[in-house]
Symmetry: none
DNA sequence: TTAGCAAATGAATCTGCCA
DNA sequence: ATGGCAGATTCATTTGCTA
C-alpha cells in the first residue's frame, strides 16, 4: 500500500496480523556536513521524512503508528521495532505506556559499522531492536526456541546478534548506481526475526516498507506480508525486488548457523581480566627492550606511550610489529609471550 | 553518604562533579517466583527498593534523581546510566527531555549471562548504558580517544563491550556466604568507564552506591568519589571494601596526552628555529606538487601564497588539508613529513 | 584471467581556539 | 555570540581499475 501508514492501516481489519516489523524514522538531528579524514563527504540521512520539529512531535508520531499497529495485531502477535539511541528510548517508553509488554531488547552488532571520524565518541557499532507483545497476558506468542537453539550449536540464542550491513549486490541501486534507500536493512536481520517469531503462512506487517526487505524475506520464507510506504518510488522498487525472489521449498526454512571466526582480544581485556597488573614490566625475547603495562591497556617505554604493536615496532625501529608475540612476561619458569595470556582469555570467552 | 540520593545530593554545591555513574533500580516486574528447570529457586531482584507502583512513579523518581545529578555536574561533566529493557527506555527518554545530550549508548555484552530458564525468550545477555553530556554545547567533555585506541589493537573502541559478570572473589558476600547485593557490577566495567571519560583527581559521583564498585575503582585509579546509598548495610560493606583497595601508582594512570591537546606550533617557529631555511622546497608524498618555504612561515606555489594547510588543500583541490602531514622534505634518506620537524621542536620545548 | 592496488561507502546527533 | 582558521580524524568491505 502506498500512503501514510496510519491512514493505510485504518483500512485493515482488527486483529489480522501475526507479526509487525517496524523501522521508523530515527529522528537524527544532524547539523552541518561531516567529512572523512580524506575530506570526502559522508552521505548523511537528510531526507524530509526524518525531520521532526521536536521530541514532542516525534512522540506524537510514534504513538499514532504504534496504536495503529496495535489495533491490527492478533492477540498473540508480536511487534519488532528497530532504532538507534536517537529514538529508541522514546519508542520503548511509549510502547510501555501503550500497554505493550517487552519480551527482549535485541542488539544488532554491526560487523562493519561506519567509524567515528572525529574521534570524539565510541564507534556507534550497533542498533537496538525491541520485541514486544500486546500485553503481559499474551503468553501464546510464537517463539521457535528449540529450532533456534538447534541452529546455534545447541546454545540458547542471545540478545546480541552479529551481522554485516546491507552492502554489495543486496543493496538496491537507482539508475545512477547510487543507493536507492538510505537505510536498507540486511535480509539476514529480517530472516532471524521471522524465523524466530513467526510461522509459514503468517501475515507480516511492515508500516515503513522502504526498499521492501521485509517483503523479500517474507516471500522467501513462505510468509504473507503487508507493506505500507509513503514514497511511490520506494514502493515500486520494492515490488520489483520482491517479484524476483524465489520462495524456498517448505522443508528448508531454518537457516544454518553462521560460522564464527576467532574473537579479537584487545590487550586492554588482558589487563582488565587481571592476567597482567598495571605496572607490570614486559620485555622482548632477548631482554633488549622493556616496557611498562598501563591501566588503559597501553604500553610505556619511558615517556613514549602506545599500543603493544606500536611500541614493539618503535623498539625495533620497524614499521610494524605483532605485539602479542614480541612482548614477554618474565617468571621463574622463564620468558613467556603475552600471546599465551590471550589464549588463556580466549578459552574463557566462548562467544566473543 | 547514607540516605536518599535526592536529599543527600542537595547538600553538594553546584557544578562540583566531573563524572556521574548511576545504576538505578531497574523496576523489574516479576510475577511470582522464577524456577530453574531443576525446580531450584532463582534468587531474583525483589528487594523493596526495586518496587514501584507504576511507570508514572518510576518516571517521577527518575526525573528527580537526574535533576539532582544535573545540578551538581560541571558544565563539561558526563553521566553514565546503566539499565535493562525494563527501565532504560524510560530513563533515556527522560534524559533527553531534561536536555541531556546522548553521546553513545554502549552495550555491555555479558560473557556469562543467566540463561532464560523458561525457553520463551532470547537469553537476556546484555545491559545498556547511556553516556551523555549536560547538553549539545558541552563539547569539552573528557574522552581519552588515543589511549583507548592504543589499548584496543589500534582500533577505535566500539559501542559494544564484552565483559564477564561480577562473580567469584570479586563478589561481596554477607555473613552467610550469600551475595551481599543483587546487582553488583564488575569492576572491569567501571574501569573502562573511568579510564575513558575521566582523569586522575576527578570527582566521580555514584548516586546509587550499593556495594561500592564505583568507589573501589575510583580509589584504585586515583579518582575521588562521592557515593550515596540508602541502606546502611550496603554503605558499611562498601566502605570496608574500598579501604582494602590498593591505589595504583600514578605513572600507570596518566593518560598519554591526546594529540589534539598538544601545544600548537606555528609553522613559522620551525623556520625561526632553523629546522627549515627560507627558500627550501617541500613536496607531497608522491612528488606531484612542490612549494617553497618563505621567511614568514608561509608557502608559495608559483604566485600563490598561503599557510601550509591552505596550500596543501589548494594543491589537491580539497576543502581542507593538514599541511603537517601533507608536505615533506627531501633528503638522501628519502621523504620525511614536516610533522617530524614539529615533533623535534616540541621535544625541545619545556613541558607544559 | 588474475593479482594487486586504489577508491568508494555505510542511519553520524563527530573540533577547538582565538580574535 | 560569531567568524575565521589551524589542524586532527576511519574500519570493514566491496567495487573497479591497472598491470
Amino acid at each position: 500500500m502506498v500512503g501514510d501508514c496510519v491512514a493505510e492501516l485504518a483500512k485493515l481489519p482488527d486483529a489480522s496480523v501475526d507479526l509487525v516489523f517496524a523501522d521508523p524514522p530515527y529522528n537524527l538531528q544532524l547539523e552541518g556536513a561531516l567529512t572523512r579524514p580524506d575530506q570526502s563527504l559522508v552521505d548523511a540521512v537528510d531526507d524530509d521524512w526524518d525531520k521532526f520539529a521536536s521530541f514532542e512531535a516525534y512522540d506524537h508520531f510514534t504513538r499514532a503508528w504504534l496504536l495503529s499497529c496495535r489495533r491490527v495485531m492478533k492477540p498473540n502477535a508480536t511487534l519488532w521495532v528497530i532504532g538507534s539511541y536517537h529514538n529508541i528510548f522514546r519508542v520503548g517508553a511509549i510502547l510501555q505506556d501503550l500497554g505493550f509488554w517487552i519480551l527482549n531488547d535485541v542488539v544488532w552488532r554491526k560487523a562493519n559499522p561506519m567509524p567515528n571520524f572525529r574521534g570524539r565518541r565510541f564507534t556507534n557499532a550497533h542498533e537496538t531492536m525491541i520485541w514486544a507483545t500486546k500485553g503481559p497476558d499474551a503468553k501464546g506468542y510464537t517463539f521457535h526456541y528449540d529450532a533456534l537453539k538447534a541452529g546455534n550449536e545447541d546454545l540458547q540464542v542471545r540478545s546480541d546478534w552479529y551481522l554485516p550491513l546491507c552492502t554489495g549486490g543486496e543493496r538496491l541501486k537507482d539508475g545512477d548506481g547510487k543507493k536507492l534507500h538510505p537505510t536498507q536493512k540486511p535480509e539476514a536481520l529480517l530472516a532471524r526475526i521471522m524465523m524466530s517469531s513467526s510461522n509459514p503462512g503468517d501475515v507480516v506487517l511492515d508500516p515503513f516498507f522502504g526498499s521492501g526487505t521485509t517483503g523479500a524475506v517474507a516471500r522467501r520464507f513462505g510468509r504473507s506480508f503487508i507493506g505500507v510506504e509513503r514514497e511511490r518510488a520506494y514502493a515500486d522498487a520494492a515490488l520489483a525486488r520482491i517479484a524476483a525472489v524465489e520462495p524456498l521449498p517448505a522443508d528448508a526454512l531454518l537457516a544454518p548457523p553462521e560460522k564464527r571466526s576467532e574473537p579479537r582480544i584487545p590487550f586492554m581485556s588482558v589487563v582488565e581480566a587481571g592476567l597482567l597488573a598495571p605496572g607490570a614490566v614486559l620485555c622482548d625475547e632477548r631482554r633488549r627492550f622493556e616496557a611498562v603495562v598501563r591501566a588503559d591497556g597501553s604500553l610505556a617505554m619511558g615517556k613514549l606511550i602506545g599500543s603493544i604493536h606500536k611500541m614493539g615496532a618503535l623498539a625495533q625501529g620497524l614499521p610494524a610489529c605483532n605485539g602479542w608475540t614480541f612482548w614477554h612476561t618474565a617468571s621463574k619458569a622463564g620468558l613467556e609471550p603475552i600471546d599465551a595470556l590471550r589464549k588463556t582469555l580466549r578459552a574463557t570467552m566462548p562467544a566473543a
